[in-house]
Every structure is written in C-alpha cells, then in structure tokens.
C-alpha cells in the first residue's frame, strides 16, 4: 500500500484549477439561491392563493427530486427548447434553482420565528416599515439564519461535485481526469476528499465567528429558557 506523493505533486495544478472552479460556482450559485429563497419565502408568506401555490409547487418539486435528476433534465431539456449553455453556466443555474428551494424554507422559518409582538412594539414606537425590518426583525433573524444557512451552504458546496457528471471542470471532475490518466484512484480521491474537507472546515469556522459576533444576545444567558440554537441537521447531502 503505497501512496504516490510524486503523482499528487505533479497533478497539483489540476486540483487547484478544480477547487477554484468549485469555489467560483459555489459563490455565485449560493448567492443567487439566497435571493431566490428570499423571494420565494416572501411569496409563500403572502397568504394570497396564486403566489402561495407557485411558491409551494416550486419548493415541493425541487425538494422532492434528487439534484442529479434535475441536472440531467436541465442538461437535456434546455437544448431542446433552444437554450444553449456552457456546462458551467448550466451547472450554476441548476445549483441556484436547487438551493433556492431550500433557502426559501430556511428564510420562512426565520421570519416565522420572530414573535408578532416584536413588529407591534416597534410599530407602537412609531418606527417606519423599513426601519423595523432592518433594526428589529432582521437582526433577530440572524440568530436562526446563520446556523441553518451555513449548513445549507456546506451542503451546496458538496453538491457541486455532482456537476462533474455533466463535465463541469470542478474538483471532482479534475480528479477523474487525473485518475483517468494515471490510474491512481486512491491518491486522487483522497486528495480531493481532503480538499473538500478543508474548504468546508474553513467555511464552518468563518460562520461560527460570524455567529459569535452577531448573536451576543443569545449567549448571555446560558440557561435562558429561550433556546435558539438550532439542531444542525443538513438539508441536502
């Protein structure tokens, strides 16, 4: 059982390119998903029949079908309706649409978690709508949002690996290229596993720092009856 470090050293540029693409795709699609999620969550909360129907259909459809299937469908449907995209663009679009449905549920949960009395008290003091959202509602949502959104972000970063099946040149695809040439699956998959692990660990640590700074009010009472720390179970694999 020998580990070919020389091979890894030689293939390193390939892996670096791969993870750069992974990070690039993640950044764009996760940002877009977030905005899609906000829009869909607000639609879901309007209580008017048509927006709610659209929002619920989108959420249930996306969440109850596997990502790979969505990718394949997009890959084949889009050209059929005349939309020609590069693999990477298609990948970003798919991941954004996929993530949007999950973000929507997170954000809706965060909005619903704020007691109505908060908005009323702020109104009673004479604050305007936007001031209320910015200064009272949104800061409170962070306590709920940061753990759940981080979880989701980590899952979506891992899901970029699935895009390798439609030849998006991200990290997993690069590993397959390297393994295809050098017949070294052990080295190849081990290295990329460690790289994904490293990337996710960095993101998770950054999120913890952010939570530490924005949620002081949740930490002051360790035994407070108001437990806001959310059990961190991921939404996707």
């Amino acid at each position: 059982m020998s580990f070919d470090f020389q091979l890894i050293y030689e293939s390193w540029p390939l892996f670096v390119k791969g993870i750069a693409v992974t990070i690039f795709i993640s950044l764009i699609s996760i940002s877009v998903s977030f905005f899609i999620g906000v829009a869909v969550a607000l639609m879901r909360l309007t209580e008017k029949r048509i927006p709610v129907l659209i929002a619920v259909s989108y959420i249930e459809l996306i969440r109850n079908t596997p990502f790979l299937i969505q990718v394949y469908i997009a890959f084949f449907v889009l050209p059929a309706v005349g939309i020609r995209m590069e693999a990477m663009t298609a990948g970003i679009v798919c991941l954004a649409v996929y993530g949007g449905a999950y973000f929507a549920e997170n954000i809706r949960g965060a909005i619903l978690a704020i007691p109505r009395g908060q908005e009323e008290a702020a109104k009673a003091l004479g604050l305007s709508y936007w001031k209320i959202q910015r200064k009272v509602i949104f800061p409170q949502m962070l306590g709920y949002l940061i753990p759940t959104t981080t979880n989701l972000t980590l899952s979506l970063i891992k899901d970029t690996a699935i895009l390798s099946v439609i030849t998006v040149p991200e990290l997993t695809y690069m590993a397959q290229v390297m393994i295809g040439e050098a017949f070294a699956p052990v080295e190849g998959f081990t290295v990329i596993a460690l790289m994904y692990w490293g990337l996710n660990s960095i993101v998770a640590a950054a999120a913890r720092k952010w939570e530490y700074h924005s949620c002081r009010h949740l930490r002051v009472n360790a035994d407070s009856s108001e437990k806001v720390v959310v059990a961190v179970l991921p939404e996707t694999r």
Partner: protein
Amino acid sequence: MTQETETLAVKMEAVSKWYGTFQVLKEIDLSVKRQERIVVCGPSGSGKSTLIRCINLLEEYQVGQITVDGRVLSPEIKNAESVRQEVGMVFQQFNLFPHLTVLENCTLAPTEARGTPLAEANETAMKFLEKVRIPEQSGKYPSQLSGGQQQRVAIARSLCMNPKMMLFDEPTSALDPEMISEVLDVMIDLAESGMTMICVTHEMGFARQVADRVIFMDAGEIVEQADPETFFGNPQSTRTKKFLGQVLAH
C-alpha cells in the same frame, strides 16, 4: 378642530369594528380628557384590547371616527408613524427587543424615528430608566432581567418618545405575583405626574387608587363607566355587578 376636541386626548365616535363577520366593537363612544386616567376592565373577548389598539392604529376599524390629540385617524391608516410617536404603548408580553441592550431598546426609536442625536437619546433613556428604578441594568440584555424588570424597561422605552398619552394592554397579566407591585408602583408614579393614561387591566386595587374613571366593557360595548367610588361602590348594571363579583371574589 373645535374647542372641545382641543382639550380631549382621545375621542371615539360610534366606532365599530368587525373581524370578518364577528363584531368586536359595537358603536363605541368614548371621550378621554388630557391628563385623565382611565381603567378599562371586562371579561376576555370583550374588545378592550382591541379598543386601545385602535387608538394607536395597531388595529383598523371600519365605522366611526377616532380623533387622537386633535388629529382624525382615517380608517385606512395613513401616516401612522407620526401618530404612534405621540402615543406610547406597553404590552402584556413586554415585547422588548431581545437583540438590544436595555439602553439600546430605549434609544432605538428616538434615534431612528426622530433623528435625535445618540448622546441626547442616551441621556433621556437614563433619566427614564431611573424613573422606573432600574438604571443599573442599562447594559444588560432583556433575557437577563426578570419579568417585572422587563416590563419596567418597556415602560421607560415608551416614555423615551415623550408621548402625549400612554396605553397599557394588561401590563401585569403575564407577571408572577411578586413582581406585579413593582410595575404598578411605576404606573402610579406616572399617573401622579400627570400623564394621560388608558389602562386595560384586572388590577382593581390600582383602579381604585389611581383612576379618574373606570370603564366596564362586555361583548364589544361600553356597559358602564363611572368614577371608582361609584363604580365599585354602586354599580348600576347587572353585568357589571356580575363581573365585579367574579373579579373581586379573591
């Protein structure tokens, strides 16, 4: 603006409100003079909370007219913020902003809604926190305070906007018994300083001590209103007598 409305803090004329098909306020007529202290009592569902929530436009109403501090409130709630800045409200559930310290809770509205400079807002806040007797808690978060302390902060928070009147929606109903008196003491101080107050409460001792007028509501109507002596000593309506019998029994 007639002579009469100039001296009135609140005037409600034939105000009716429905939730769907259920009528929660039935042709309410009410006049509150400046510096008057009113206590509103009645069984659950009588509409007393809804009544005061109409005064600061947290609720809309369909029929009638409400004039607050000389301004007519239109049923479509236009320009609500400027009205609400003049009317303070204290809630049963306190509704303090958990992500802000006590001091920040008090300075948020003056700085954000009125543009008061922070230093001035801080001074005002400390002044009112002293009035409610908890200046030393100003750096703490609401979750670190007891219920009674939180409610007193809520009172200070509303006072920091220098409102013309204060509305209280069952301020002590969510408190443990031993904390009720600390909040009532603050409310008594406030009443004696000349603030116009409308309180929805079950605390009859408070009503007897402080109120100029006690109003009994049932099923959306004002059934009876009188000064405390008359109200408690010689209630007119059978419904009032029944309610008082239940409330004063213990």
